[in-house]
Each structure stands twice: as C-alpha cells, then as structure tokens.
C-alpha cells in the first residue's frame, strides 16, 4: 500500500477534521454573504440562514458607499502601479543580470537594501512631500511612490540569471540586439515569474490601506479599502449595509485569485524558494 494514501477509520477521521476546519475557516465569509443578501430589518432574524433573499442591500451599499467610484479608483491605481512595477523591474533586472558595468555589486546591494526599509518608516515624510507638491487627493499621490519595487527587481533578476549564457549567445548570433534579447527571449522565458510578480504587485497595491488614508481626505479618491472605512463610519447603525459593502469589495479579488491561483502561489512563495 502506498504511503501517501490513507485508509479506513483514519480516512474518516481525517475527512471529519478537514470538514470541521473548513467550516471554521469559511464561517466568517459565509456570514457576510448571508448578511449581505438580507434586508436590513431581518439581519438579526435567523442570522445563520439565507432567508428573505434580496439584492436590495447590495445595491444600497453600492450607492451609499460610492463603491463604484471606489472600485474604479482601486482598479485604476492598482493597474497603473502593477504595469509600472513590472516594467521598471524588468529593466533594472536586465541591467543587473546581463550587463557589465562598474560598481554593479554596490548598486545592486543598495537597491536590495531598500527592502529592509518598512513602508511605515517612510510614510510621514512621504506625506509631507505630497503636501508640499499639493498632491494630496490625487492619483499621483496614490501611485507615484510605488512605481518601482526592489522586490520585483530581485525576483526577476533571479529568474534572468537562470537563463543559460548560451541562450544569450545564440540570440546574438541569430542577430538580436540587447533589447531584442530582453523582449523576445528573456521576457517570454520568464513569463511565469513575471506573471507572479504582476499578481503580487496588483494584490499589494489593491490591498493598501495606510497610505491612502494618509493622502486622501476627499471621498472622490477613496479606494475600496478606505471606502470600506468610510462606509463603516457612515453606516454604523446599518451593519448589513457595511457587510454588503464588504462582499462587493471582496468579490473582484476572489475572482482574480481563482483565475490566477498558480501565479499567486508562485508569488507568495518566491521568498521561500531561495531562502
């Protein structure tokens, strides 16, 4: 009998345990969805069961929280940041992986060292910078500080380094210049990693909370995360409205993650592989 299979009573026990844990993990999500589909006055009646089904709460949350606007802002900001991070990372990674230039090690270590600086240590000054530029309440404030990331540079450099030298030479024999090699060989070869970085960047910027609260005061610039806070404060007496808002906000990311599971796993484990 194979060792990675489980039989008999142990199997039943394992299923029971898994099922129980699955219920525990999914319970908060279940409660949200059930609550979001009930009318406001019925939230406390049978809270566990999906009775009195309505989409009214969802639409009201959408309107009250200006969630359409918030979703658009989040999407706009995250897509911009993601595209920029991927491009700037690929460019810098190429320089570090394939070009010879004086002081390369020093420059690389300097780039890498920025990973040690937590976002939280820089935000006060960054917010003052935004103030002095009059960028408070603008897309510029939400995006520009995040257009590059040392994490992305490092991740892509690592995969570029795995491309055999002969591949580079073959490309130059075939007539490709440096940029030709980058876009036609190195980038397509690194597609899985670049995909992982794309998803990782998107999620990180989509989930940002602290920075948007610091540089936006106008609800017009709410992202979904700060929009939830606004909704929570505005509708403190209407819990199911806030719950519905949470569902609306969480839904797009669930869809994205189900579609890109593999990239997600690669992105999350990128740091673990090369310990």
């Amino acid at each position: 009998m194979a060792i990675d299979q489980v039989y008999g009573a142990r199997k039943v026990g394992r299923y029971l345990l898994l099922t129980f844990m699955a219920f525990v993990v999914i319970f908060p999500i279940y409660m949200m969805v059930v609550g979001a589909l009930k009318p406001g006055n019925k939230v406390l009646v049978n809270p566990l069961l999906p009775t009195d089904f309505t989409t009214g709460t969802l639409t009201e949350a959408w309107r009250t929280g200006h969630l359409g606007r918030a979703l658009w802002n989040s999407a706009y900001v995250s897509v911009l940041i993601t595209l920029a991070q991927v491009v700037t990372s690929i460019l810098a990674a190429y320089a570090f992986a394939f070009l010879r230039f004086p002081g390369k090690t020093f420059v690389f270590v300097a780039f890498l060292a920025t990973l040690l600086v937590p976002l939280e240590a820089t935000l006060t000054v960054n917010r003052r910078t935004m103030q002095s530029l009059s960028w408070i309440n603008s897309y510029k404030a939400l995006t520009i500080p995040f257009l590059a990331t040392a994490f992305g540079i490092f991740m892509i450099r690592q995969v570029f380094l795995t491309i055999p030298k002969e591949m580079h030479e073959a490309a130059s024999m075939d007539g490709l210049g440096r940029l030709g090699f980058l876009w036609q060989v190195a980038v397509p070869l690194s597609r899985p990693t670049i995909g992982a970085l794309t998803l990782f960047s998107f999620l990180t910027s989509w989930n940002q909370y602290l920075w948007p609260t610091l540089v936006t005061t106008n609800q017009k610039f709410n992202t979904v995360q700060t929009g939830l806070k606004t909704l929570k404060l505005a509708a403190i007496d209407k819990p199911n409205l806030v719950i519905a808002g949470t569902v609306i906000v969480a839904l797009p990311i669930f869809v994205v993650l189900i579609a890109f599971q593999r990239q997600l796993i690669r992105g999350l484990t990128a740091g673990a592989v090369k310990g």
Partner: protein, 333 residues
C-alpha cells in the same frame, strides 16, 4: 568567398591566457576541426571567430574583411552550441525561423526556408512541437536547422554531438559530412573526440594549452604527428612512447602505434603481458616494457600470448616515430 584567417590571436581572461599567438588559415569550404583536450583553448578560438569573444590581441578575417569590430550578427556566421540553446518557448518552426525573423525576412519566405531546412534534416513532422517535447537527437537537428536556414558563410559548431548517445553520434557524423558537401560552406568544428576529428575533418588543428600543435589532414596528423602530444592524442589506443635507448640506440624517444608493434621471438624488447582484450575484430594486448605501459593491437586471428607470459616485441623502421627527448617535437627524417 569565406575563408577564415586568424592572425596572432591571443586571448586572456583576467590575466589568464586562454590562447596565445594563434595563426590559422581556414580555406573556403573547408571542414576544419579544432581538436584538443578540455581547457586547450579550442572553444575560445571558435568563439572569437563567431564574435562571442573579443581577442585581446590579433586580427580575425572572414573573407577579406577584418571583423574584430563587427558584431556577431553581422559576420555571416552561424553557431551550433553544445547545449543547442534552443528557445524553449518557441516551436521548432519558430526556432528555425527566428534568425530570419530578426533579419526582417518576409514571413512567407522565411517559413518556406524553415520548412525546407527542417525537412532536409528529417524534422518535417515536428514543426509545431516545442523543444521540450523532442529527443536529444531531434533537438540537435533543430539547432543545425537554425544554423542552416541562414545560409551563412561559416558554420561554427561547439561539440554539437557530445550530448548524444554513441549510436546517434555515429549516425550524425555521417550526416554532418553529407551536410558539409551539400551546403558547400566553411565549417569550423570544435571537439575533443579524435574519432569525430578523423572521420569528418578535411583538416585538423590540434591544440594544447592555448597553442596550435599541428595543422594537417587527418592522415598527416595520424601518420606524421608533430609532437608526442599529438601522437598520443590522435589514435586509439594512443601511440606507445618508448624511452630513449630501448628500441634503438640514440638519444630520442621512439613512438610506435599499437598496430605497428609486432610479436616475434627475434624482436628486441621484452614485454610482460598483463591484459588481453578481445574486441572481436581485433585484440589489444597490454603489458609493460620496463616501467612503461605498452599496448599492441593485433588481428584477432593471430596467436594470443597468455597473461603473465613474456613475449618479444619490436617495430619495423617505417613504424617508428622519433621525437626529441627534451622538446618532444618530431624529428624530421
């Protein structure tokens, strides 16, 4: 015209000399083999021709043009790498087409060229596959096709057969010879395998420690090795080198190929037999003369000495090669 001329080529890597003062003329349409053990500089020389390395000193000519400052892609040189260096994300056809695509050859034309090159190498049915789905031999052909499709003046090949199994290697050798005849262009081929060198080359350049030891046709290199090194590197089993004064009086070393050693009671040297290897069509007899290991190659029909016995061996005058005991260079007759 695509002769290749190397003039006083020296290449150093971080102060370590890889090749030193090499002069080599490769004629148009020649199949030139660069032969030598690993680390002898043969690959460096090939890469200098291809433009993948800049020589520290000296000049490279392809045709009549000095190409030191010409980028690899403009040299009209194609290269087949030991690892093949196929693009794993492209199909076989896209791999073969790629050099033409980069050179902006119209789509229909390059597809036709790629299919022709692929078909000529028996790859016709694999055009849509990715390299990962091919066998080693097939990948090797794709690498060849990618070189052929450009119709280059010079083909550079860096140990292209070393990743194939023995049977496939034999078959591919024959195909490469046919290919050379068909394409009518200049081949420069790096190998450490003397069988490949002997069977395929029109000429062989034997290298050792960054220097050219000998340049000549396979027959010349075999019959008149210019040094002890060449004598022992070319030929299998290698030439026996006997110490001065053993086979004949004099101060030089005497080399005798295993097939030129004869066993007969009237011969001068006593050989203690240690090993008798029956190979079917021939027999190798290994033993020692004094402290020297000596190998004799015989027809399998001949009488076999017993292991442990002592036999008398010697060689006729035309089987003897004489080398200077100090410089190990051949002494002219």
């Amino acid at each position: 015209m695509a002769q290749v001329r190397l003039q006083n080529i020296t290449k150093q890597f971080d102060g370590v000399t890889a090749v030193e003062d090499i002069n080599l003329d490769i004629a148009d349409r020649e199949f030139m083999i660069l032969l030598g053990p690993s680390g002898c500089g043969k690959s460096t020389l090939l890469r200098i021709i291809a433009g993948l390395e800049d020589p520290t000193e000296g000049e490279v000519y392809i045709g009549d043009t000095m190409v030191n400052n010409v980028m690899p892609k403009q040299r009209d040189v194609a290269m087949v790498f030991q690892s093949y260096a196929l693009y794993p994300h492209k199909s076989v056809q896209d791999n073969i087409e790629f050099p033409l695509k980069v050179r902006k050859v119209p789509k229909a034309q390059r597809a036709a060229a790629a299919i022709e090159a692929a078909t000529s190498l028996g790859l016709g049915e694999y055009l849509d596959r990715k390299p990962g789905a091919l066998s080693g031999g097939q990948r090797q052909r794709v690498a060849l096709a990618r070189a052929i499709v450009r119709n280059p003046a010079v083909f550079c090949m860096d140990e292209p057969l070393s990743n194939l199994d023995a049977k496939l290697r034999g078959e591919t050798r024959a195909e490469l010879i046919a290919l050379h005849r068909r394409l009518n262009s200049t081949f420069v081929y790096v190998t450490h395998d003397q069988v490949e060198a002997m069977t395929m080359g029109t000429r062989i350049a034997v290298m050792s420690r960054g220097h050219l030891e000998q340049i000549g046709t396979p027959q010349e290199v075999y019959d008149k090795p210019s040094s002890v090194f060449v004598a022992q590197f070319v030929g299998m089993p290698p030439m026996n080198i006997l110490p001065a004064g053993s086979l004949e009086t004099g101060t030089h070393l005497v080399g005798v190929r295993p097939e030129h050693l004869r066993i007969s009671p009237d011969q001068p040297l006593s050989l203690q037999v240690q090993l008798v290897e029956q190979l079917g069509h021939e027999v190798h007899i290994t033993g020692s003369v004094g402290d020297r290991r000596v190998v004799i190659r015989q027809d399998s029909a001949a009488v076999m000495p017993a292991v442990g016995s002592v036999v008398q061996v010697g060689a006729a005058e035309n089987g003897r090669h004489r080398f200077d005991a100090v410089t190990e260079q051949r002494i002219a007759e």
